[in-house]
Subunit: 352 residues, 4 copies
């Protein structure tokens, strides 16, 4: 059994981890930690958990949290929390997986740029852990994740785009310049905290783009694509919110290189992701939607290049709370501890 200490257990990312862990035969929730809800049980915060997970929630600095018997600590917390907490956990012999941007960049320079962009202190609090951390996009970094002490789980938008573009950049299926990521997300991506824009009456029949000057997720995407292509990649990123709860649909555009065709792109993607349990590659004639991956850890990629205009086009569909967050985390924990990668992730969501 892999014993998990879950920090940030009462947010959506924490709940998703608990839900999956409950059906995972080799993960044991050793300790739930959170600021909000500390001193209560999980069902006292989230009544639907009553009888399924009645564990207490401990404050981060409580004896129970600090002394938890855990193999790995999952930080489902905002930027800054895992960064500060990881050294202590690692010193205590625990491995770490962090949902935030704290460990998505493995140089202090890149972190500095990222932190500046989101208005945080640009000096990382654990630079030695940062430099040895691994980016947790399993399909691209499986071997390093298996050995990593600290894993930085990808952001949900970045997961959607990077999974959708990796084969193209690795195999030269798209011109590396001028790529556009047009990304539509459901509202759960913003977390559980109420806000004016996500108040039900304001949101129920409304769509909008936001943060058009730059969004932190673009850095992750560019870093990964640059590494895959060997060039300095820049992409245009348009985050949008549509009135649904779960799901990201990212339309990824670029120019087709001379001689490149839909058939070749499709074949390239199928080759690149051959054997991957969570990546479905589809021709544009096949049905695809966010609803088809809702509740599952899958990315569904529709290859739909437009030869008439010379346009590369791939549409990536994920559930932002699963492949975009907790599912991906479970997948990484499986890899980190030598478990079958699909363990606990072998079920579809509930339809409708």
């Amino acid at each position: 059994m892999v014993k998990v200490k879950l920090v940030g257990a009462t947010g959506y990312g924490g709940l998703g981890f608990v839900e999956t862990a409950l059906r995972h035969p080799e993960i044991e929730l050793a300790c739930l930690v959170a600021v909000e809800g500390a001193g209560k049980t999980l069902p006292q915060v989230w009544p639907y958990m009553q009888g399924f997970c009645d564990m207490p929630i401990y404050a981060p600095d409580s004896d129970e949290a600090l002394g938890a018997d855990a193999d790995v600590v999952v930080f489902s917390t905002p930027d800054g929390v895992g960064q500060a907490g990881a050294p202590r956990e690692v010193a205590a012999g625990r491995r770490v997986l962090d949902y935030s941007g704290d460990y998505r960049f493995n140089t202090t320079d890149l972190y500095h740029e990222y932190a500046t962009r989101i208005g945080k202190d640009p000096v990382h609090k654990a630079p030695e852990l940062l430099t040895e951390s691994v980016y947790g996009l399993t399909e691209l970094h499986r071997a390093e994740i298996a050995k990593a002490t600290v894993v930085g789980n990808p952001g949900c938008f970045a997961m959607s785009c990077t999974v959708g573009l990796a084969p193209a950049f690795k195999m030269g299926l798209v011109e590396p310049v001028g790529v556009v990521c047009d990304c539509k997300t459901g509202i759960s991506g913003a977390g559980k905290k109420p806000s004016a824009g996500f108040h039900y009456p304001e949101r129920y029949d409304d769509a909008n783009a936001y943060r058009l000057t730059g969004h932190q997720h673009v850095m992750e995407i560019e870093r990964e694509l640059s590494a895959l292509s060997g060039s300095d990649v820049r992409v245009t990123f348009t985050p949008q919110v549509v009135p649904m709860t779960r799901g990201i649909m990212s339309c990824l555009y670029g120019r087709l290189p001379a001689g490149m065709t839909q058939t070749k792109v499709l074949a390239g993607y199928r080759e690149f992701y051959k054997g991957e349990p969570f990546i479905l590659v589809k021709d544009f004639k096949e049905a695809a939607s966010t609803g088809m991956v809702r509740g599952s850890n899958r990315a569904m990629l529709t290859i739909a290049c437009d030869e008439r205009t010379g346009t590369f086009r791939v549409i990536s569909h994920i559930d932002n709370l699963v492949k975009g967050q907790a599912g991906s985390a479970i997948q990484n924990v499986n890899v980190m501890f030598g478990l079958p990668e699909t363990m606990g992730l072998d079920q579809p969501g509930a339809h409708p």
Copy 2:
């Protein structure tokens, strides 16, 4: 392993059964049968099932369907189908569970009245099976279900109301006359077939009551409550549709008998449902909602009598597709085959 032949596999009720069966350690889907989709695989009809359940769908009269190696046949089909098909299945040594009204009444007289009300042929096609069939409300008929050859699964509205009123009628906590069931359902209760009233633009911000002259579900409720109270019970039933996909919230009203109090009613419900794994009884000060049982096989009952006006009031919350349909079916299969009653049903739904 209990081998299940599932008829009507491509409707919402069928999908719900498949989803649960996939995580049930002792249920094996032996054969999927449906009219719609016959000749295809399940993912060809419902792509989200790809890789999770890739089974073929057979036509009802195909050799594969007729010769399936199954212990039990689950009819997730409209009225009339299970009725006609059950005798053949029973003759072949299979037990039967039917989702429709075909086996919810165990006398030809009651069936005659029911069928007349819904505009069907009032002569039951398998009267000998009908008379020995058992009403599948597990909490009320557990022992008979365990031995039953044919089980008639309750309707979703009836489940919601009967579970919510059974203690009151059995224990005299409500006057048996003048009870009102005010029931709000999500739209999935109407099944997958598109219709004008459930077209997204017509339904997204709209609520209405329907079939105010009588709804077939009232007969089940009245039959059960009459049996529990020993009197001839009649209830007023108001089915309503609200713009959500899953969930039934039924507000159940009546008159408090002289001397009856909220405290006594609450104590009665707790006593009646003591030890029941799927029934949660709550005081009105505790939070409750359909969302809290979404995806689970639970009924959440809020006891909220109004002593100021002498009004008995209980609010019953279920997921119409789980406790109201497929979950209840799995629960009954567990009981029929001597499995732990919560097997496959021990997980919460996904939130949000």
Copy 3:
């Protein structure tokens, strides 16, 4: 032209008044007042208003607000605001219409009980205005409203229930004891302020009842029905929230008096509301829904008594923001100033 000073212009109730005023040929918005948004223009708070209503928003105690050239002041504000502000307005020669509970009760005793129930100071700040104020349910108090200095606009739930029950209590179509109001509201009824329960992901597929111990609206209903019937009426009230933005559907139940029939109740309602421009009385065989009154100032009443069980049943549908709030306010302003009652309210909403 009737010149209106609108206090609380940036809430949903204020916006609804502005929207209707913009198409009303005899209402002129003289001054917009609000705490939130003071110092900005209306479109700076609500961009959809740009070019339609670009007026500045003044703080309540600003010179512009205090010195506004207005015939009537509409307080679209929380409890307590209109109470404190009305005397000053009346002294300045302006009439007052208030959306809150401040002027719904015309005795200090009743107000004391109401304020206690909602946890406010039970001593009214303007008792002399209170005692001469008129309850703004136009269909019941038209003549008094025409002459009133201060009108207290009904609450949305109370409007729905009182309009739906008034004929029955006045004409003896229902037993006056044991009446139940089962009321489902859309979320806009809670206003624009974000909260955990109305955060989109928490609300999109969820229904619940709330405040089961008592809701302030019941007092209005009971006071009106008592006056109509000449007895001391008490009703049971169950407020519920369903995932829609606009609309209230109230199912109103009681016992039919001996000899009372659906036909007689229907005839009574048609008689009672004969000539009323905003009340539609329908037989249960006719379609009705909240969507059918969405955006209009109508109440649609479905008469659906259940003679089989002796149950009186009327279903009342309104748009909580129109007939339940701003539309009703406009209707009252029309009456107060001798304008045609339907002026500005003669258009349907937009479908879908």
Copy 4:
């Protein structure tokens, strides 16, 4: 008064026209015509219209429809209907405005290509009317519309994209090659007819792209942009459906020409649309959403070029049923008959 005969009065496009006409001081609905609902009144099909528009619906070939006293016939009908009907109307002295693709192309060659693409008979039934018809994008063809006998109203997607790209192509603010239109629509764009994909439970939390091989609307866009730029423009078009009822949000991408900046593009758009009553041009720092134009005839354009990547980006927001359909039709009727262009269109929608 402009007398309008409205064909297809019972669809969403027809209802939108009726709703606006009801508040338009110079439009009179002379005759409602439809296949579905013929012989009934409008409220018998759409009860919310009761008392607002109680007109009868006539069959297309009825004497009442053929002999209607009308100045203009609005065909809110599928492809093929207006084409066949227009000659007769024109012969009777009526002008024609058609919502479908029948009169969006003014050469038989273009029509041939369009009709082939949508699987219709490529031979136009009224080529002489076709060649003199005018494309009804008012902002681009105002003068011709004023004199036109037959106007072809733009498709909703095409409206959104063409309005959003016209200044760029006219003024050289974007490279004319490689433009991408990433378009998200609400579901009302598909009309009132129920279908599996728009059944509420299938759609409530789902987003997808469709018709990725080509969508009829691209031809309109390319024709207009080619005319504006003087080159042969081809765009990539990705239609998507998201779970809302009203609204189109189109993200329009291209390459910035050398030296082009966000500031220059913004200035260009403001210049191009100076004085246009229905076009709002916004900098990316200003809030914008489909909700902000819901119910109004506006297009809200957010200029958000990404200089870092050299990417031109404009986001166009409209209400697909207003500026994308009935509102645009009213605007054109105003122009055709010399009325003020904003008449009947001078009000915001209802919020929320």
